[in-house]
Amino acid sequence: MTDREIYQGLGEIFADVFLRDDLVLTPELSAKDVKGWDSFKQIEIVMATEQRFGIKLRTREIDALQNVGDLAQVIAKKTGNQAP
């Protein structure tokens, strides 16, 4: 799966989770940048990511997530793509 596909998928997840169509996903984007990104939303994003990309994140991986870039990297690794 290409980075582009990953970011496109994540973009749709974020649009649905935060009900916003104006979020531009960058690797640096993190919870402090988005209003309402709390621990519940964090779980929602992780679960939605698992469903959409057909992968499973381990507890350690979830705990280590700092920003969108980290999440994209985990997806890339698990869907058999080299990280950028």
Partner: protein
């Protein structure tokens, strides 16, 4: 995470995102209900809930249902389920507000009339206890007595909750069954370890069903649902440790849906009537084009059996009180023909409360059905394989439930079950007598108990052997039996469809297909006989039977029929031939047992036997014999004694 439980019967809305954004401004309740009727995953469920809550701070004036205040009382994190509960209510046009107890404080709050719980004045209470909580304190070192005491203690705590809630709120109470999330310690024989927590969960679920019945509490059977979807779809062990969410967020829409059904059922808002399309919905093909013998239904093909399963499911629904109706684009005479004449039809005319076969559009048709039955459009579920008709009815009649229908009829019964439109909390006597065909399991059991001797048992079976000449509707099944039956098959002659058709045309031959019906149901066509006249002899060219009906006097009764048919051809003597194969030794002495005289014993073990028809007296049996142009109906039955 395994794939989440899907609301697969609800239609996808391709423009959902756009319509959801528009709802912010339109604040249209009807549009909100429509969006809730789409196939939503948990993210979209949460999004819809958020926007609806912004748009409506109170129920709309037009709300036709009584607002519900649900107290959600549990022992772990439940907040992630609220949105799905509200959206499931919205899907049914209901307004739901939720109170959740402070973490772990359900018992304290139930005991305290000054608590926020009491101020909330719930109109429904749902107890949602997690497996860890209910089995806390149990450990593998316990003996049976200690484990028993722990079970009793837990059950009485739950019963106490029910009692407190009932006395305080006088409202429906729902108890969630326990998810099987704890790992076993023994394996397949877990039940031998008294202190096993996993075993405790199983015992609790068993006991809850009984206790809830006594206490008048409804169950929310999460354990059953998790069997359908797989536990991994419902529970994520990592997430449990992370957030104490026993039900994983992706399963929330299904959770809400299951609760929504119960709440609606308690308001008498479950669907009441299943409206069936005919062509390619309850049989394969188009009756108007393909004709009675061209439609795919019944034994002989997997597809045909799939359609039988659809009909059986509908019939079972009707036996527990769901009304059946038909809406079909067809000439009425064509549409009715299979109901009257096709031997494999499970549904009969009398199962259908109102029958609309015409060329009107289906929306008009369904309106007429609602009027015929004097029930609301929102009591109807419309089952149609055709996406065009489904879309039309959804658009014209938003109140009518229109499930998506799997391509494969084999999947339709479970899809309908999953959709839960007919959720019921009780079965009334009224439901059961709605169709006269109902036979209870009790009757079956009492029959087995009372049948101390074989004769008594056979007599009690109320067997009916319904025979027909070979015909086109039965052709497929006849050819299938001729080519598949190996054991009870005297000659093992295989015939093609054309050869069977030739028997039908031949004035010096007869072909019989026999169907056995007993009080437990229709066994389908179970025997085939072909006779050919040669001078004054009639040779039994083929006699085969399904082994399922052995030992029930079917053989002797069949002989009565064969003898009668042979006499009608002018035969004086019946010849029965046995051709041995590797598989048919069981019928070597078939004719001798029936009173034939062996006139030729061949070296290979084969034989020819003869029966003088002038001297033949039909055997008596407990089987009633009837000639039937249809399968299930007791057509003018006649005794075969006169031959």
């Amino acid at each position: 995470m395994s794939e989440a439980p899907q609301l697969h019967w609800l239609p996808e809305l391709p423009d959902f995102r756009v319509r959801l954004r528009a709802l912010r401004d339109s604040k249209s309740w009807d549009e909100a209900v429509a969006l809730a009727g789409a196939r939503l995953d948990f993210v979209r469920t949460n999004g819809l809930d958020e926007i609806v809550r912004q748009a409506f701070d109170r129920p709309p004036e037009s709300l036709a249902t009584k607002p519900i205040r649900l107290a959600l009382l549990g022992s772990s994190t439940l907040a992630h389920l609220h949105a799905a509960l509200r959206v499931a209510a919205l899907r049914r046009g209901m307004w739901l507000t939720i109170y959740e107890n402070d973490y772990g404080q359900y018992l304290q709050e139930l005991h305290d009339p000054g608590s926020a719980l009491y101020r909330f004045e719930p109109t429904a209470v749902l107890f949602a206890f997690d497996a860890h909580h209910l089995t806390a304190g149990l450990h593998a070192g316990m003996d049976a007595g200690e484990a028993e005491a722990a079970l009793d203690e837990t059950l009485s705590r739950i019963a106490l909750c029910w009692r407190l809630a009932r006395e305080a709120f006088r409202c429906p109470i729902v108890q969630q069954t326990v998810l099987d999330v704890l790992p076993g310690l023994m394996g397949s024989n877990e039940h031998r370890l008294p202190g096993s927590r996993r075993r405790m969960v199983a015992r609790l679920n068993e006991a809850l069903r009984e206790k809830a019945e006594e206490a008048g509490v409804d169950l929310l059977a999460l354990d059953d649902r998790a069997v359908q979807d797989g536990l991994r779809a419902w529970h994520d062990a990592g997430l449990w440790h992370h957030a104490k969410q026993e039900v994983a967020p992706p399963a929330a829409p299904m959770y809400g849906e299951l609760v929504g059904r119960l709440l609606a059922a308690r308001q008498g808002r479950s669907s009441k009537c299943l409206v069936l399309d005919l062509d390619n919905t309850i049989w394969g093909g188009v009756i108007g084009d393909d004709g009675l013998d061209g439609i795919v239904l019944g034994q002989g093909s997997a597809l045909g059996e799939g359609f039988v399963a659809v009909q059986e499911y509908a019939r079972d629904l009707s036996r527990r009180g769901v009304i059946l109706a038909v809406s079909s684009k067809n000439d009425e005479a064509n549409a009715l023909e299979p109901f009257d004449k096709h031997p494999e039809m499970v549904l009969r005319r009398q199962d259908i409360a109102t029958f609309r076969a015409d060329w009107n559009d289906k929306a008009a048709n369904i309106r007429a059905i609602a009027a015929d039955l004097n029930i609301g459009l929102d009591s109807l579920v419309f089952l149609d394989d055709n996406p065009f008709e489904r879309a039309l009815v959804r658009q014209e009649l938003p109140g009518v439930a229109v499930p998506e229908v799997p391509d494969d009829p084999a999947l339709v019964p479970q899809a309908l079950a999953d959709a839960g439109y007919f959720e019921a909390v009780a079965v009334t006597d009224d439901d059961r007598v709605r169709t006269s065909q109902y036979q209870s399991n009790k009757a079956r059991e009492s029959l087995k108990a009372s049948a101390t001797d074989l004769d008594g048992y056979l007599r009690g079976l109320d067997m009916r052997l319904v025979w027909r000449r070979f015909d086109r509707p039965g052709l497929q099944r006849t050819v299938q039996l001729i080519n598949k039956t190996n054991q009870f098959n005297l000659t093992t002659r295989r015939y093609t469809e054309d050869e069977v058709l030739a028997v039908m045309e031949d004035r010096n031959a007869f072909g019989l297909q026999l169907r056995l019906i007993d009080r437990f149901g229709d066994n389908g066509v179970i025997a085939i006989v072909i006779g050919r006249k040669n001078g004054t002899d009639v040779l039994i060219d083929t006699w085969l039977m399904s082994c399922r009906v052995l030992g029930r006097q079917v053989e002797a009764t069949t002989l009565n029929l064969v003898a009668a048919a042979a006499r009608r051809l002018g035969g004086k003597r019946l010849l029965g031939e046995y051709l041995p194969t590797r598989k048919n030794a069981m019928v070597r002495d078939h004719y001798a047992k029936l009173g034939f005289e062996v006139i030729e014993a061949r070296q290979d073990g084969g034989s020819m036997a003869a029966l003088d028809l002038d001297d033949f007296a039909p055997a008596r049996s407990f089987i009633e014999v009837a000639e039937g142009s249809e399968g299930l109906e007791p057509a003018g039955s006649m005794a075969m004694a006169e031959g």
